[in-house]
Amino acid sequence: MTAGPSTDPRAAAPSTPTPTRRNTELALLGFAVLITLAAQSIVDLTVTGSLRAELAGFGAWFAGIWAVLHLVVRTLAPYADPLLLPAVALLSGLGLTMIHRLDLADEQVDGASGGDAPVQLLWATVGAGLFIAVLVILRDHRLLARFAYTLALVGLVLLALPAVLPASVSEVYGAKIWIRVAGFSIQPGEFAKICLIVFFASYLVDKRDVLALASRRVMGLEIPRARDLGPVLVAWALSILVLVFERDLGSSLLLFGIFVVMLYVATERSSWLLIGLGLFAAGAFIAYQLFGHVRVRVDTWLDPFAYRDEGGYQLVQSLFGLGTGGLFGAGLGGGRPDQVPVAKSDFIAAALGEELGLFGLVALIVVYLILVERGLRTSLVVRDAFGKLLAGGLAFAVAWQLFVVLGGVTGLLPLTGLTTPFVAYGGSSLVANFGLVAILVRISDAARRPAAPPAPPKPAIGEAPTEVVTP
């Protein structure tokens, strides 16, 4: 951290006016919408031979979402990072396209019409609503720190809810991570993730000095005092509980990974990483010994082709899809991604890899990389410690989740039940991630905003209330 009061994110005083880069964002959003519509048209033309009548409506709706979000950002967070929103637009556009493409495949098989893409578009709209709500309500990200313990409680309840609910309401494919009410399925874990990251950020900023300084030096490593191990042990135990009671390998791995990395960032002590890794290894070993479902996952991961008709079926089909897609892919609508079970949600990356090929899949990964690295850049630039840790945690969460999912789908890691952020079918994941990006946008606005804007931005909207807030 450089000069200035480190707690005020707006303390930077640049000599030249900071460009807002809103027009860059608008142009990139237009590009993302254009790619999405082109992809949708290709799918229709390839599969059915003609454009569907609803395409115009879809296009208008989809473009409308981003136009509205752009205007909201322009008004409420004018200095926000211009790449975050377009990356999300492109990812969700590609996701919607692939879901629509798989709808068409389902239609051919069983004649079912309607499909999941319109539902997903609706969820995207809900997500956009959450995005706007976050920006409207949360005028300063530091507000969140005040509710850290409340959010922790909410997060824990959300996380625990499916475990205590009866299996008929909460269990799908053996994982107890759902709440199914009135035809809707909600994965509360997706929201719990964000709540807990906020809590981690707030808690770790408070305790970082103790966690970082009270240590002994052993063999070149700063080893924390035994009693300071408490938080990491609690997080570890929480992950294990999730694994035991919800049989959710993914969330377990996700939460623990995020916590350890945030702990490391907060304390700047790499010993925490080693401790985390050790605990992970111990947990993984115990889980492998004790739980059949974990053992099956690991065994099928090590040699999927030996279990090609049983536990390895999904992964093997996924690899077939990717392999057949090859360098250039089968083209949108040209492959058979419907051969992979649950292609719309867990295996959507395999479907994209089959039809868009290696080039398409790598491009997708790079778009995620842009999203994540812009998030991490935000955390580097923002001046308050809470904002830093929160932005870093959120950005890393997206990266870690993608790594675990994509690693699973491509056989690099054991399969877990996580969803591909923004792309996979599933309302909870989509809405929650919109909320996540909204917080990142808010922090990035704070990070880049000059102390005294060269031209007062629309006093009518009233930036005044945020000025009142002090940490």
């Binding site: 490391y264 990717l322 392999g323 057949t324 897609g325 058979r336 290696l358 990389l369 990266a399």
Partner: protein, 482 residues
């Protein structure tokens, strides 16, 4: 906190790089392996969604794809299924392709390099890509006659054009209905396959090319060729023909068919020995010529043990190991380890008929693009020259005598000179003999060479197989305007 954040940023870069490297490994390095895995139905369903080319015989499609309403957009049909099944094979959702459907899959599926330019054109014109046609060399009359004649027995017929090596007929019985293995109903396919599995002899095996059998006296043509080629013999050379021959180094008595006597003088001319198919004479002749002479001549006629691709891959034919003079004696009458495919037997007749030159047998006459333009045409190739034209003439004279005066009289066709040789091969104690006939006609200008094989026919080559050969020869010559 910026230093650890930068490290996290770099770690993310590393993690994503791992993902990208792994995806490269799967989609590039392992791409072919995954694409071709038997569990990957994508390639097959993609093939089904394309109009597969037809297999054509004499202008008639014997295998063709017709559009359907289900997800596998085309159904494979075989209008004369059982008659052409030994050649066409099947194209099954569960078992893949077989015979020509398998051997010429690239053309039929449209992925052959010879169709590449056209595929590119299809890409730009938006035309649905389709497979090319495979036009076979088969003659419909020969094939239908051969299959009809073999009805009820286990056997095979191969007919060749001696001058080119074109396969005119390739029959194998029992046969089956390939359409039932190529339907879109997996349960029905499995049921039919189970039915075929339960049979004593698998109909899916093409006995004309994919299995080999002891040829018996048919092999005497090769021993005769070796004798004539040695320069020490003419058809009129008198050779020993005892009633019984004690094989050298053993006490085994080799006898003639039915313990008959070849000649009261215990010796006869080479042509007479072949005409009546004298075992003792040829066993002694083989021993006198030596293993090398017999083996070299057999290899010259194609019995190298190597498979051919016509394009169906054939079984090899060979004389096997010959450990002793006794074994050589038995091998010289086509017993012991001597094995021939019916195709190989037909090749022997064809080479003699074609002045001693053996042409490479082939089954595909033309490859046609979907718009029926011919993109490839068979180019007859010489496989070997086992004997000189002079020796071939002498062999022909001897084989004419077999049909005119000897064991092959049942193959005589009115108005046409037929040259041939019968074979009755012992299989095992208490198991009926295999019955063979090879021949070609017209002898002075051979247009068809034929081999007939009836497994465990129980009769002799002369009374079981020769009449089938006659029918096939007649059917072909009539069709040729004879």
């Amino acid at each position: 906190m910026n230093a650890p954040l930068r490290r996290v940023a770099i770690s993310v870069l590393v993690l994503f790089t791992l993902l990208i490297v792994n995806v490269n490994y799967i989609q590039v390095v392992r791409s072919d392996e995954l694409r071709e895995d038997s569990g990957n139905t994508r390639v097959l369903t993609e093939e089904y969604s394309r109009e597969r080319g037809s297999i054509v015989v004499d202008g008639t499609e014997v295998a063709l794809s017709t559009p359907t309403d289900d997800t596998l957009e085309y159904l494979r049909e075989y209008p004369q299924g059982p008659v052409y099944a030994p050649v066409t094979g099947y194209y099954s959702l569960l078992y893949g392709g077989w015979q020509v459907e398998r051997a010429e899959n690239d053309v039929l599926a449209g992925s052959d390099d010879r169709l590449a330019l056209r595929r590119l054109a299809d890409l730009f014109t938006g035309r649905d890509p389709a497979g090319g046609d495979v036009v076979l060399t088969l003659d419909a009359a020969v094939q239908e006659t051969a299959m009809a004649q073999l009805d009820g027995v286990t056997g095979a017929v191969v007919a060749l054009d001696p001058a080119t090596g074109a396969v005119l007929g390739m029959a194998s019985t029992p046969t089956y209905d390939p359409a039932q293995l190529s339907s879109h109903d997996p349960a029905a396919i499995r049921a039919y396959a189970a039915e075929l599995d339960a049979m004593d002899t698998d109909p899916r095996l093409n006995r004309a090319v994919q299995d080999n059998y002891p040829p018996g006296s048919v092999f005497k043509v090769i021993v005769s060729a070796a004798a004539l080629a040695s320069g020490g013999y003419t058809p009129d050379t008198v050779i020993p023909a005892p009633d019984t021959l004690t094989l050298p180094g053993t006490s085994t008595q080799l006898r003639n068919f039915g313990n008959s006597s070849c000649s009261s003088s215990q010796e006869q001319s080479l042509i007479d020995a072949l005409t009546i198919s004298c075992n003792t004479a040829f066993a002694q002749l083989g021993i006198d010529l030596g293993e090398d002479a017999v083996r070299e001549m057999a290899e010259g006629f194609g019995m190298t043990g190597e498979p051919l691709e016509i394009p169906i891959e054939t079984a090899g034919s060979s004389v096997g190991d010959i450990e002793s003079e006794a074994a050589l004696g038995q091998s010289s009458i086509g017993q012991r380890d001597v094995r021939m495919t019916p195709l190989q037997a037909a090749m022997v007749a064809a080479a003699v008929g074609n002045d001693g030159t053996l042409m490479t047998p082939y089954l595909v006459d033309q490859v046609r693009a979907p718009d029926l333009t011919v993109i490839d045409r068979a180019d007859p190739e010489e496989l070997s020259e086992p004997v000189t034209p002079e020796v071939a003439d002498q062999l022909q004279e001897m084989m004419e005598s077999v049909v005119a005066n000897g064991s092959g009289r049942a193959a005589r066709v009115p108005g046409v000179t037929v040259a041939g040789k019968t074979g009755t091969a012992q299989v095992a104690e208490d198991v009926p003999d295999h019955n063979w006939f090879i021949g070609f006609a017209p002898a002075d200008d051979p247009q068809i060479a034929v081999a007939v094989f009836v497994a465990n026919g129980g009769g002799t080559g002369g009374d079981t197989s020769a009449p089938i050969a006659r029918q096939v020869i007649e059917a072909y010559l009539e069709g040729q305007g004879g």
